[in-house]
Symmetry: C2
Subunit: 339 residues, 2 copies
């Protein structure tokens, strides 16, 4: 236990970055180009040194009573959850609101109880968050209350909702491959997208751009969104002597499995096959080569939802947040031998 | 949006497991041997189908007022956080308590405010949780309140604390390698453990068992606990023609980087080098070969902390929860050529 309180400079030194970089990371700024690795090192160092940012202290000294409730289906199984909460929390505090978090695991009774308890203690507005982009039913207890849906939407689209722009991300994926020179043998790997909102939207975006260029996907490889099923499914296609020019994976875990199968088949990424993915989870920068991936902007989703909730104008409809392309080393021109 | 509520059988079918397996996963039972992959598939299917377990409904129908507050430093940057919360939540609900979660990012002002707000609304006991095992300072506002520390401990050890048994895990690691026949050239890869509680304890446990067998670590490879620094550090050692018989990595991310460096050097795991790790994060089962890893029992830590908080006997001292060995495919006998 450190006898003296660690400073931001201590954190920066331990993480091997500048004080400015550490400051940007700790204050959650995403407009600066800081690598995911450096960000993680700063946060890691901050935890180790028990660093306490003063970020939020100022807005709390006045003991304001305005409070937002974040009601979430599950934060238990998605590592992503943290950044959604982080974005919501930082923005709430900037606007001098406190944030209470309730986890419901999707249980209607828990939801009702949580919302009522939060109302009892003066919560004035709600974020209803899903950790997994999807269509949802609005709990009756929330109807008529100040509310923004975060990473989910209702079927009738009436309640204001903040979502990643999945279809535009699909378009970005296709454009990235076309720009690198790929014209054919483009595979899409991931589960049949009928049931998964993100998969369905991403595929629509991909097909929109390909069809404008009078191209089509060479095929889809149907598998669950995890490394092992993806490895097995891609391996099977490769054993059947099919050879892709580029592979779009519906998330980074799928890309991990595809990469394993390609490597095993003696195909190098990106020399022989380009690999492109979605999510930009930690995994994307951990693979070799590092994955080009289209990020889910979790922090920005949380920030935007709080901004909408606290805006003077009533927020309506669906607000889509851009999914930025993170270019790394897994996309290149088509293999020369195949042209 | 599904017009009809999904059943547990729907979840099981989609995940490709039996109804019984799905039931065990959804109710959070950890005493059954269910692969991490299958567990994830069930949770994934449950989210997709918007499945709502009735697990907690019963205990809430009576509108009990007993409430526990979980005050956490940060749930933002550790994917692990979820299972700690999940274990706490499930146990609280079994005991007919509600759980409120507050995130402080380690800010003392936020902590004070959160605890006071929770007290105002009838919270009767607290879990003070760190997502990263470490020594901590107890916030003054919590002193004298019913309290259990979760995954952290105070320097004087007076406040009851629930922690993973890191030193025993280190002993397990060393015993596993000795049992496989390794006697020398055992490397430890990870950051100099002085500042990191888990690293320090794990190393002490490893050295305890090696020294009983009159053996020592062949060396330690100093790097941050991430894939890229581990890859670079292990690669450098291998380029210097050092050849390990077995490599113990201080977490799975470190093992991922070590595995990349070994593969690049033409060394196969476990044929040429055995690889053993800690954490048993998702990553452990995603790598090829799948990693043998010693698990942090996050769910059980949360459960144990709630049990202690609600027990009739005042809980005192440090309660250590066993870290189970997950045997997979990365440990084998020493390479024949080197014996």
């Amino acid at each position: 236990m450190a006898p003296q309180r660690a400073t931001l400079l201590d954190v920066a030194r331990r993480a091997g970055v500048s004080r400015t970089t550490a400051s940007f990371v700790m204050s959650g700024r995403t407009d600066m180009r800081i690598s995911a690795q450096a960000q993680e090192r700063v946060r890691h160092a901050a935890r180790e040194l028990d660093y306490r940012p003063n970020l939020m202290a100022r807005s709390l000294r006045t003991r304001l009573t305005r409070t937002i409730g974040l009601v979430s289906d599950t934060i238990a199984t998605e590592p992503f959850a943290g950044e959604l909460i982080r974005g919501s929390l930082a923005t709430a505090l900037q606007r001098e609101h406190l944030l209470f978090i309730g986890e419901t695991e999707g249980d209607a009774s828990v939801e009702k109880r949580l919302v009522e308890d939060m109302l009892d203690r003066g919560v004035g507005g709600f974020l209803y968050a899903s950790m997994y982009t999807r269509e949802t039913r609005l709990p009756p207890v929330l109807r008529g209350l100040p509310l923004v849906l975060l990473n989910c939407l209702t079927q009738n689209r009436k309640v204001p909702a903040v979502l990643p722009d999945e279809r535009a991300a699909g378009r970005t994926a296709a454009r990235t491959l076309l720009a690198a020179g790929h014209r054919d043998r483009i595979w899409l790997v991931g589960e049949s997208p009928a049931g998964v909102y993100a998969g369905r939207e991403r595929r629509l975006g991909i097909e929109e751009i390909l069809s404008r260029a009078q191209l089509t996907l060479a095929g889809t490889v149907d598998c669950l969104w995890w490394p092992e099923p993806s490895y097995a499914a891609v391996r099977e296609c490769l054993l059947a002597r099919a050879r892709p020019s580029a592979v779009i994976c519906l998330n980074d875990r799928v890309a991990m499995g595809a990469n394993q199968a390609l490597t095993e088949a003696g195909l190098a990424v990106p020399r022989d096959v380009s690999l492109l993915s979605f999510d930009d989870s930690d995994l994307a920068s951990w693979l070799r080569p590092q994955l080009t991936s289209i990020a889910i902007p979790h922090f920005d989703l949380g920030r935007r939802a709080v901004e909408l909730l606290l805006s003077d104008q009533p927020a309506q409809g669906v607000h889509r947040v851009a999914m930025p392309l993170r270019e790394r080393a897994s996309v290149g021109p088509p293999a020369a031998a195949t042209r």
